[in-house]
Structure formats: structure tokens, C-alpha cells
Symmetry: C2
Subunit: 345 residues, 2 copies
């Protein structure tokens, strides 16, 4: 079968690899019907060093179950399923608490280590009963782009909002105008935020942010951005910061714009080793929380809003490619000429 | 009147200063009946450089109101009152949210800047109506030591527990065996923690921690302490860490013993500039929160448990001095031969 393999920074190839096959009795095999390229895939695309055999890429997908191992009971061949970016048993103490990304038997797709990637024709799903979320929607339904965001970016934006304690009436800032940031706008509005300040500077993304519910746009950076958000909030800063980038600049800006007693929800994979401003953070009683989103836990809550048309996260996809177009997709997202690339293998 | 002035590290003196007097129509003057020395007073006692005129010390007190400004309505002369370590209007947007330590008109006692200290015969209380909490207890009641902890250490330990999300059944670690750490044990137990691991090595404090509800003691430090807590918790770490020290070691230990999905509640004044372990903290979805406790907000909740004898935080006081004994009190606390010194001016 064909799959996307990254060999080093800038070097993504579509290659023939052994067919996905059952290895454990709890596995399933899915035929990938929709996948996509994630902003977090751009980190290795920019800094990966050559690794033996390369790394299978992709961690977001919808697919059709084609085979299940002998211990799989809930998942059946033929089902259309959402594949969260992490696999999990959905039964350990962490999963019971809704933190599937800390599952004691779990792990992540698309980072190697014997687990495949979703930018491929098919994929082996460990712990299929715990991991996959069957949906009663035809595999070519027009809702597919929106449903695909449940595998990562919408759940991740929602996690940022939950961890930043967004509630009805909240004043919110979203740091990052990528697909996760835009989904964070949707999530913040969905949780009742009254004011949503999008920090971004890319015209098309800003326009989409406004349609998703952003009430203010701050296109400055660094100290100017902090000053501008403070101006917009009577000098106080915002109650909730949804940090959707992961850079040192992004977390510094977040600490500068959060209000006393407020919270920063981090979902951008951090490329810094310590959370800055520990003393102002303390004196102002600011909380910092977040991490890899337990999207598996959020699907049931978010799905009806997509199916019933109340939110349209699928609009973050602005380009569609087949597998052979994936390397071009990486180039376009890296150059920010594409927001998020949908893959139809 | 006589008051405690710190001139530089190690140099605390009892001096004659101008009598406390009304300056603003919202002020009150209290005669201090009980004050104490705080673990946080030891930071300047160890590192303060000479400053012009010195710094009036003390931020915890119970007193009797002797005079009120013309705009004071709620507070009356003769009342016995608890003085939280921060003054606040109890009516701004932050106070309304229960974050009195971010009051837009507020500030802190015992740090200078025109505000006096409580280790003195009397003290001017700004924003008296918002700040002071009258209690219906005689000024020499046997409960006074316990009630005095409502001005700081019990409320601060409670804040650590709240910010670390202690709930019924929680597994908790308390970092620091000072008075705040011991009060944090009380607070964690009061909120229903099932297991409370005290990190400390001082025999008398450990004994008191056990009486307050600690179920396990870890007397190691650094990597050994982390390993020991992990052993005690099936390798997982604890759900809630109550960080009651503020040193770089204390926060590093806290990050090492917190469980995935857990929270660190910081109340030790941080002597580090960045929160370490930002990446493990992220991958494990750990939250860090806390800061100066809004003890004013907590008094109503905690007071009945003291008055009705369910908790005995007053036991953290193991020495009583008059004003002239305050410098000795600092020496004893610095040498850890006293846990917490009560002052009867």
C-alpha cells in the first residue's frame, strides 16, 4: 500500500510500504477515506534529522473498518469511524477521567515506533474498541471535512477552551491563526464567550475567524500585541488565553495578555523548556494548563453540533489532494499558502 | 507606638514610630492583639539589602478596632477583627470573583510603601469596610491562635488545595513542612483527600502533620523524593501537589511527583523565574496554578470549622513572644527551632 514517509526536514515522500495488517487481537485495520496534514506535522518538516527508514506521517483520519482482530467486540467491519490522533483503551483510570491522551496502554499515531500514519491508504488501529468512534454517516457525506476535525483540531481547540476555563460571558484571546486557533474560536464561542480576540495577521484566516465568532483582531506581535490586547480590555487582559502555537513567543505573549485570576490553555506543542514569567504568573494568580487534547472524550459532545450544522469547522480545509499531492500539501502549509490540507487517499 | 522594622538581612528591630493614624476616610485603626511571624518574612530576613528607613514587618493579625474614618460604615470601634494579609475593597470585579489579592484598589501589609506592618502595637487598615472581618469572640479567647491563622496561613494552605483541585478521594502531596504546609494538610483533609503525603524531615512538624491528617511521610529530597512518591502511588504520582515553599527545588519536586492530568497549587512565593519542565508538564496535561491567597474570601468558609473545633490550625504556633521578643522569634524561625511564632504586642 502507499503511505506518507518523512525522511528529514523538507523531505516527505509517498512510498510503497507493507500493507497494514492485524498484529494484536485488539487491532483493527481501517481503509483511510479522509486524512489531513496537521500544523504539528510542520515541526518535523522544519527540523527533523535523517532517521532510519523514515517516519510514517499523519494522525487525523476518518476511515472504513475492513478487518478486526479476534478480541475486538464493539467495532465491526464496514463501520465508518473517526480516528482520534491518540489510541487508547477507553477503560483505564485516565480514560475514565476523560484524559485519553494519558491512557496507560495508549500512544500516538504518526510519530513512528511501530505505529503507522494516517496519510496512507490504510492503517492499523491498536485498541480498536477503545480508540475508534463509529458514526452513522456515509463515507462520502458532505459533512466529512467537519467530522474529520473531530480527530484532532476541533477537539484540540475545544481542549484549549476548556483548560482556559472559557464560560458564558468570558473575554478570550486566541493565540495562533492556524486550523487549531480557528477551531479554538469556534470552541470559545460555543462555550459562550462574549468577546473573542484573534491574534493573527493572515487576511483569509482573519476573515474566517470573524465568521467563526472572533469579535476583535490583533495583528501586532510581541510587546505591541500585548499592549493592544490590554487596550481592548480596559487594561486588564483577558480571562482566558487559548495558546495554539507552541513557540516561545506565543507563550510569552499569552502570559502578557492574561488577566489576574485568568488561565492559559496550552495546546500548541511547546518548543520551550520552561514556562516564562513564573513570578508575575504567581502574583496575578494565573493558571497554566493544557496538553495533548483527549479528543476521544470530546467527540460525543461536539459531534451533534457538526451534524446539525451549528458549527462548521470543516471550513478550515482550503485545499484537497490525493496521496500523490501530499508533499505539495506540506509545502503549501509550510509556506502558509494553504491553511489546512485535506487528503483523500 | 512600637513596631517591628527590618533594616537588612538579619537586622530586625523594635522601634518607636509615629502612632498609627487615620489618613483616608475609609481607614480604620486597630490595636493589634495577636500577630505572628510568617515563613515569607524569612525571605527578606535572609536577603534584604539596607533600605532607607527600613521596612515595617508583619501581615497577619487579629485586633480591636479603636477608630474609624468618616466613610467607614460596616466596621465599628470595639469590634474584634481578623485582618487578612492583603487589604481590598471587597467590591471590585476581582473581589466579586473571590480574588481579593488582585483587588484594583488593594495592596499588601508589611511590605512598605506607606502601609504599615502588623508586628506592632497598632496598624492603619486601608479600605477597612472591605478588608476587616469582624468576629464575635472575646479578644482573649482560647481560640485566638486558630483564628489568627485565618489572616494568612490557613487560607493560604486552603488556596493551595483549591488550586490543586483537591476533592473527595484525592491523592495529595504537600511540599513544605512549615506552617503553610501543615495548614495545607488540614485543608486537603478537610476537602476530603484520601491520601496525604507530607514531604518533610523535621520530627516535630512531621508529628503534627500526622495529627492533622497526613497519611504518609517522605523525608527524602530531590530525585529520591520523587522516586519515593512515585513508589507510594503505583508509579503514577499524585493528583494534587500543594507547593508551600517557593524554591526552585520545591517546584521541580512538585513537577516530578504530579500525576498526568494532575495539578500543582503554588502558594510559596516563587524564587525562580520560570516554571520548569514545561514539556513534560504539557505532554502529561499538568496544570500549575495558585498565587497569593484571597484569604478574605475564604474566612467565612473556614471560620466555623475552627470555632466548632473540627480543625486546630492554631497548633502551628509553638512559641509566643511580646514585641520585644520579635527579633528572637525571627532568629528561631530562621534556625527552624520554632515553627511559627505568635506575637502578643
Amino acid at each position: 500500500m502507499r503511505a506518507t514517509i518523512m525522511h528529514k526536514a523538507g523531505d516527505v515522500r509517498i512510498e510503497n510500504v507493507p500493507d497494514a495488517a492485524i498484529q494484536q487481537p485488539t487491532d483493527a485495520i481501517i481503509r483511510i477515506t479522509r486524512a489531513c496534514i496537521c500544523g504539528s506535522d510542520l515541526w518535523p518538516y522544519r527540523d527533523m534529522t535523517p532517521a532510519d527508514g523514515g517516519r510514517p506521517m499523519g494522525h487525523e483520519a476518518i476511515g472504513v473498518v475492513v478487518e478486526v482482530g479476534r478480541d475486538v467486540e464493539r467495532i465491526k467491519p464496514g463501520q465508518v469511524v473517526i480516528m482520534p490522533f491518540a489510541f487508547s483503551d477507553n477503560s483505564c483510570l485516565f480514560c475514565d477521567e476523560g484524559l485519553h491522551t494519558a491512557c496507560v496502554h495508549g500512544g500516538f499515531f504518526g510519530i513512528g515506533g511501530g505505529i503507522g500514519g494516517a496519510q496512507a491508504e490504510a492503517l492499523r488501529i491498536p485498541l480498536a474498541d477503545g480508540t475508534l468512534y463509529p458514526i452513522d454517516v456515509a463515507e462520502d457525506d458532505a459533512l466529512m471535512p467537519g467530522l474529520l476535525t473531530l480527530s484532532d483540531v476541533l477537539g484540540t481547540g475545544h481542549h484549549a477552551a476548556v483548560k482556559a476555563k472559557v464560560r458564558p460571558g468570558s473575554t478570550v484571546a486566541v493565540v495562533g491563526d492556524g486550523a487549531v486557533g480557528l477551531c479554538a474560536v469556534i470552541a470559545a464561542r460555543r462555550l459562550g464567550a462574549e468577546r473573542i480576540i484573534m491574534m493573527g495577521r493572515h487576511d483569509a484566516r482573519i476573515a474566517l475567524a470573524r465568521e467563526f465568532g472572533a469579535t476583535d483582531i490583533v495583528s501586532d506581535r510581541g510587546a505591541e500585541a500585548i499592549e493592544r490586547v490590554r487596550e481592548l480590555t480596559g487594561g486588564l487582559g483577558v480571562q482566558s488565553v487559548l495558546e495554539c502555537v507552541g513557540s516561545e513567543d506565543a507563550i510569552s505573549t499569552s502570559m502578557g495578555i492574561v488577566r489576574a485570576g485568568g488561565a492559559v490553555g496550552r495546546v500548541g506543542v511547546p518548543h520551550y523548556s520552561a514556562v516564562p514569567e513564573a513570578q508575575p504568573m504567581f502574583y496575578r494568580n494565573v493558571a497554566v494548563a493544557g496538553g495533548p487534547a483527549p479528543v476521544r472524550a470530546y467527540i460525543a459532545d461536539l459531534l451533534p453540533d457538526i451534524v446539525e450544522g451549528r458549527i462548521e469547522p470543516g471550513r478550515v480545509f482550503d485545499r484537497t489532494v490525493d496521496l500523490s499531492g501530499v508533499p505539495d500539501g506540506y509545502r503549501a502549509m509550510d509556506a502558509r499558502t494553504a491553511l489546512k490540507v485535506l487528503v483523500r487517499p
